[in-house]
Symmetry: C2
C-alpha cells in the first residue's frame, strides 16, 4: 500500500494543525515537516483553507472508524452505548488527545467562512447519525422519538466530555459524563 504525496501532506498537516492549531501552523512548517516543496503542496491543494477541509475530513473519518471498532467489540445493549463515552477514556490517555478539532478550528476561523463551517457540520452530523444508529440497534424497544432524544443526549455528553476534559486537562469530566449516562439509561 503506497502512501501518496497527497496523503502525506494531509497527514502532516493534520498532525500539526491538531497539535499546534490551525493559524499557528504555517505552510512553511508543513512542507518542512513533510519534506516536500511548496509548489508540490499547492499542486495538490489550492489553498490553506482547502487543506483545512481535508484535515477535518481526515480526522472525522479516522475518529468514526475508531469509535466504530471500539464499540463493536463491546457486548450489545446499554454497554455498547456507554462505550461511545468510554472510548474517550483511552483517547484521552493516548497522549495524542488535544480536544475537538472541530471546535478548535471553529474558534480560529472568521465568522463568515462557510466552507470550513460546512465541513465541521458534516462531521458532527455523521457522528450523530452513527450514535442514532447505535441507539436504534441497542434500544429497539424505545419509540423513535425516544431513540432520537437518547442519541442526542449521548452526543451531548460525548461532546461535553471532550471539550471539558481538554480544557481542564483532566479525565474526570469524561468519567462523570459516563456516570450521568448510566443513570439516564436506568
Amino acid at each position: 500500500m503506497k502512501v501518496t504525496t497527497k496523503d502525506l501532506i494531509v497527514q502532516t498537516a493534520s498532525d500539526l494543525f491538531y497539535k499546534n492549531g490551525y493559524n499557528l501552523t504555517g505552510i512553511n512548517e508543513i512542507i518542512a515537516t513533510a519534506g516536500i516543496a511548496k509548489a508540490t503542496l499547492y499542486s495538490h491543494f489550492k489553498s490553506k483553507e482547502d487543506l483545512c477541509v481535508a484535515y477535518l475530513h481526515s480526522k472525522d473519518e479516522a475518529l468514526l472508524e475508531a469509535i466504530r471498532e471500539f464499540c463493536s467489540n463491546k457486548s450489545a445493549g446499554d454497554t455498547r452505548l456507554i462505550a461511545v463515552l468510554e472510548f474517550l477514556v483511552q483517547f484521552f490517555k493516548s497522549g495524542d488527545f488535544n480536544g475537538c478539532w472541530c471546535i478548535r478550528t471553529f474558534s480560529e476561523i472568521p465568522r463568515d467562512n462557510k466552507i470550513i463551517k460546512a465541513q465541521i457540520k458534516k462531521g458532527k452530523t455523521k457522528l450523530l447519525n452513527y450514535i442514532k444508529l447505535l441507539v436504534k440497534e441497542n434500544k429497539p424497544k424505545l419509540t423513535k422519538k425516544q431513540q432520537i432524544q437518547l442519541a442526542n443526549r449521548i452526543y451531548l455528553l460525548y461532546e461535553g466530555a471532550v471539550s471539558e476534559s481538554h480544557l481542564q486537562n483532566e479525565s474526570w469530566p469524561i468519567q462523570e459524563n459516563i456516570e450521568i449516562l448510566k443513570e439516564l439509561l436506568d
Copy 2:
C-alpha cells in the same frame, strides 16, 4: 461614574476578541474602534497577551454577576439549580452569544502559554465554586460528596450546553441538557 481609558480599552478589546476571535483581532483595529492612540494602549497594557488576560477576567466577572442575579431571582431549591442552565437560554437568544471565550481563546494560543491558561483556569474555578455554593444552599440534605458530584455535573452540563449550542448554532443542546439535569434531580 467616569469611564476610565483603561476600562474603555478592555471593553473594546473584549467585544472584538469575543466577536471575531483573539488572533483575528489586531491591535490596530482595537485602537481604531476605541478611538485612542497606540501609545495609550501600550501605556496601560504591556502586550496583547496582557490585554487578553484582562479580557478573560472581564468576561468571567460579568458572566458570574449575571448568573448570580439571574439565579437569585428564582425560587430556592431545585429551581435555582436548574436556573444555571436556563440562564443560557436567554444568553443564547441575546445575539451577543458566541460560545465560551475560555475555550475559544484556549484554542488560539500556543500550548506553552501558561499565563493565559492560568487565567482561564481561574475563571472556570470561580464558576464551579459558585455552583458548589448554590448546591450547598439548595441541597442541604445531600452529603458533602454528593453535593460536589452534583455541582460537577451541573458545571459539565452547563459547559457542554455552551459549547455545543455554539457549534450547532442552535438552542436544542441547552434545552436537552436542562432536561438531563431535571432527570438527575429526581
